[in-house]
Amino acid sequence: VTVVVELTRTHIPTDGIVARLKAPSDGAVVVFEGIVRNQSGGRPTTHLEYEAYEPMALEKMRAIAEEARARFAIDQIAVVHRLGRLEIGETSVLIAVSSAHRAAAFDACRFAIDTLKRTVPIWKKEYFSDGAVWAEGEAPAAFDAAPARPRP
């Protein structure tokens, strides 16, 4: 079983990762890449920086991969996020899913990216020509059965 879960500070090698997921029994691979946009709320951005609470982020990403394999009839899954400085157009996150049939791969891919954006402790700082701001995010939440967001 190939489950690729990684945080990386360099270019995400999508083609190589996708190649690792493919098996003769697969009929589909769905690939989602999040890429760096050139604006935020109408203001031009120059670049982004991502940081993570790395051990916890990896654990949450592993949990997403395992949950996706439990919920959907998929074969393999990759969940990879880049950290550090990213330029416009670069890939910040990769979700790739292989399966016998396309529906499960699409569903699992959507589940994985949506859950990542709600539950994985990673933060994005947006840089503009005149300064930088932390992106407004979502209060981190454990998915499903975990206790409601504990607040101080």
Partner: protein, 81 residues
């Protein structure tokens, strides 16, 4: 007892620290740690509805009891992807 406290994202900018070492009362609760920093940095209090605490890399409740060597993290709203 001594614990480590980590701050991420905007919370690191507010507190001015990536990591701190803190003495907490024996048997103290996680909420004590939040209050400790919120009393020094009022913006934490203002943002309390959006801050989540983790203890030893798991989402944790304010009523959780602390132990020596714990790693407590202040997590602002996440924005990965």
């Amino acid at each position: 007892v001594a614990i480590r406290v980590l701050f991420f994202g905007i919370l690191r900018d507010i507190v001015g620290l990536r990591e701190d070492r803190l003495e907490v009362p024996d048997g103290g609760e996680l909420r004590w740690v939040f209050e400790h920093y919120a009393s020094r940095f009022p913006r934490l209090k203002e943002m309390s509805a959006s801050i989540v605490l983790a203890r030893n890399q798991q989402f944790a409740a304010p009523s959780d009891t602390l132990a020596a060597g714990d790693e407590v993290a202040f997590l602002p709203p996440v924005s990965g992807g």
